[in-house]
């Protein structure tokens, strides 16, 4: 028991209580609590992202073969890959596939978002339904598309022929290179469109109504309102959506694997499907990792440039 100067007797805290008090004080400090909260997420990132990424980088610089000791070979895998016709074709496919798919997803996504932003009956139901392609497991929905494009049972061709839009037997969707590329792009657009539409819709809803009212009062028509109000204010959202979609589309796997397995004549192979073929099915994981990482510097640059431009827009 202690006596204070004013003669009031103050109870000294018990040792256990004192420890708890000190711990609380320590945790109240921002420089302690902040890192403590971030640590679990950091650990997860280290284990689930950084470690596999570092392993992939190491594999790509080695002659790693499944279950065998590997040696460091520098960038030989990257150089050798460029000599492969299949790889060069894949490289070209990836850019064609990504650019066309993103262009369509962007235009259709904005259109759909503008439609969903209108006063519609069953608005909630429609918004929910729009998300369906994005929610259904890709492999499952792509199997449905495969059946629709299948040469023997193609419902697309059957309908086209019935409506006299096509001459029998109709296009060989998965057997000719341009049709096959069209098919995989169509399915990718179908699947990726909800992501664009819903994110852009959120951006649209955040635009103050007063701006439109003022523009309308000044005599601006729908096109001018879209061009001078909607589009500039949507730019940061569009930047983020395009950024994410570029990464997802470049690394697409399921759609191509299920629909064409990279064929015909490698004309629909993407980095992920070719990496699987070389790395897992043949066991050459060094080469497979190099295929996966080939575009890493390009994608890093895209991320940097996009984020920089978005930050500029926001500021």
């Amino acid at each position: 028991m202690a006596t204070a100067d004013a003669g009031v007797i103050v109870a000294a805290p018990r040792p256990r209580f004192r420890l708890r008090l000190r711990l609380r004080e320590w945790l109240n400090r921002e420089e302690v609590l902040g890192p403590l909260f971030v640590t679990p997420a950091l650990l997860l990132l280290l284990v689930l992202v950084a470690y596999p990424f570092c392993m992939a980088v190491y594999f790509s610089l080695s002659d790693a073969f499944i279950g065998r000791p590997s040696q460091f070979i520098g960038i030989r895998n990257f150089v050798n890959l460029w000599e492969s016709d299949a790889f060069r074709q894949t490289f070209q496919n990836a850019f064609v596939f990504t650019s066309i798919a993103i262009a369509f997803k962007l235009v259709l996504g904005i259109t759909l978002a503008l439609l969903l932003n209108q006063q519609l009956w069953f608005k909630r139901w429609i918004r929910g339904a729009v998300l369906l392609p994005w929610v259904i497991p890709t492999a499952l929905s792509t199997l449905g598309w495969w059946w629709m494009f299948n040469s023997l049972y193609s419902v697309v061709n059957w309908t086209g022929i019935a409506l006299e839009l096509m001459d029998p037997p109709g296009p060989n969707w998965l057997g000719q290179k341009y049709y096959a590329m069209t098919a995989v792009i169509v399915v990718n657009i179908w699947r990726g469109l909800p992501f664009f539409a819903i994110t852009i819709l959120a951006g649209l809803m955040a635009i103050p109504k007063e701006l439109y009212e003022a523009a309308e009062a000044d005599g601006a028509g729908p096109v001018r309102r879209f061009w001078y109000i909607t589009l500039p204010l949507l730019k940061p959202v569009l930047g983020i959506v395009i950024l994410f979609s570029t990464i997802f589309t470049f690394s697409e796997f399921n759609i191509v694997y299920v629909l064409t397995n990279g064929g015909p004549i490698n004309s629909t192979h993407l980095f992920a499907t070719l990496a699987r073929q070389v790395g897992l099915e043949t066991g050459r994981i060094g080469e497979g990792a190099a295929i996966s990482l080939y575009l890493f510097p390009v994608l890093m640059f895209v991320v940097w440039a996009q984020l920089k431009s978005v930050r500029k827009e926001v500021l």
């Binding site: 998965l174 000719q176 096959a180 397995n261 699987r276």
Partner: protein, 424 residues
């Protein structure tokens, strides 16, 4: 609640610490349990039979067995992850050249194969070529599935067509079949069935992809030109462009659905039609594999084996399972019979198996005078040969030629791709 004495607490925790440190459970707690990963067999009845045999095995030996199945396209990825993590199943089903790919990770099973060969005769050459790696059996031959000619006997009879004996005869019959609306169905796509047909056509013409040394590309000779030209006229006159988009199952579907008049496939197409009581089943039959101009008949064989991972902690019980399934004649027979001639024995003394007498349409499966090989023959199996196969170079070379690229250019492309892989 019972009171725990200090002494009992110390004994229990000390014991637990010992088990955790050594990783060996006490004898009383040691449950002999093995796990076996295999594919979803195209003859599903044999998977059911395998499960039933597994239950009997547990009853007879006291060893528990867990049998898992995955689709065959997923096998390579699954095996790669098991090998990289050094964890997973004890036993794995291995198709064709898998033992070569995973050689350092597989237990030497030569003693076991010797036992089986004493009982059933030497393993078939295709099984030996693929499961024996550098003189060591890395997997035990389990069964084989081979390709054969499957055709619509009713259509052939109706049109008065002669059953083909050579690939050239097939062209003659194929032209008529296409006119009848029942084209020949040979896939020319990025799938394994395409290689399973292109290989025998090339071999029967005296050609090959890679020389026996495994280092020299053999594509490019006159036999390759002959093969490509044969494919071009077949595609033009006997088939439809849909074959360019086919998967491994498409030719089966086409025959069973009543469209194709002739396909090159294992017996599974007929089994599907028969077991599902489809209209086409009565009209489907098989004939011997086709010959080249010199009368040589070569055919694709798909042997399957059972391997044991080196990281397995249950190697002996795993061997027990192989002995039980393949070493007991009555069990092996029962298993083979359940596969309806899709899973045929992989040992010479059992080639003329009773399963071939269960249906008159299996008569052609005796395949007299036919030589069986695996992909890449005569080159020895290796990761490079596997990459040539998995990169679908032969199918793409043919696809290029039939869709407009000149024969010379298409062959040069194929030869270059193979050279690049072999040099890498």
């Amino acid at each position: 609640m019972n009171k725990i004495s200090r002494r009992r607490f110390l004994i229990t925790t000390g014991g637990l610490a010992g088990i955790l440190a050594s990783g060996i459970p006490p004898a009383r707690g040691q449950q002999r349990e093995i796990s076996y990963l295999c594919w979803n067999n195209f003859a599903p009845a044999s998977d059911k039979k395998l499960a039933a045999i597994g239950q009997r095995f547990t009853k007879d030996t006291g060893i528990k067995i867990r049998i898992d199945h995955i689709a065959h396209p997923q096998q390579a990825a699954k095996y790669a992850s098991e090998v990289q993590t050094q964890a997973g199943h004890d036993l794995v089903e291995m198709r064709m050249h898998f033992p070569w790919l995973y050689e350092p990770q597989l237990v030497d099973l030569s003693d076991l194969v010797k036992e089986l060969e004493k009982k059933h005769g030497p393993a078939l050459s295709s099984a030996r070529e693929t499961a024996m790696v550098k003189g060591v059996w890395r997997a035990v031959p389990q069964y084989r599935t081979f390709f054969v000619a499957c055709y619509r006997e009713d259509l052939f009879k109706k049109a008065g067509l002669k059953i083909p004996d050579t690939w050239e005869d097939l062209y003659t019959a194929g032209k008529e079949l296409k006119k009848m609306g029942h084209p020949v169905g040979i896939p020319i796509a990025q799938n394994y069935d395409t290689i399973s047909t292109a290989g025998p056509v090339l071999w029967s013409l005296g050609g090959k992809e890679v020389e026996k040394d495994g280092k020299t590309v053999a594509i490019g000779g006159p036999q390759t030109v002959e093969m490509v030209e044969w494919y071009k006229k077949m595609y033009r006159d006997c088939m439809e462009p849909e074959v360019l988009s086919w998967t491994d199952a498409s030719n089966n579907d086409s025959l069973v659905a009543g469209k194709a008049g002739w396909i090159h496939n294992p017996v599974s197409a007929y089994l599907t039609a028969r077991n599902r009581k489809m209209e086409t089943a009565a009209g489907i039959n098989h004939h011997r594999s086709l010959a080249g101009p010199n009368g040589q008949r070569h055919e694709t064989d798909v042997p399957r084996h059972i391997g044991i991972w080196k990281f397995s902690k249950n190697i002996e019980p795993a061997k027990e399972w192989i002995r039980y399934l393949l070493g007991r004649r009555e069990v092996y027979d029962e298993y083979v019979m359940s596969g309806d001639a899709f899973n045929l024995p992989a040992y010479t003394s059992l080639v003329d198996h009773p399963v071939l007498k269960t249906d008159p349409k299996f008569a052609a499966l005796r395949q007299e005078g036919v030589q069986f090989h695996c992909y890449g023959w005569p080159a020895p199996a290796s990761d490079k040969i596997q990459l040539i196969t998995n990169s679908f170079i032969l199918p793409n070379m043919i696809a290029k030629a039939v869709t407009g690229t000149s024969t010379k250019e298409a062959i040069a492309w194929g030869a270059n791709e193979m050279k690049r892989i072999l040099a890498g």
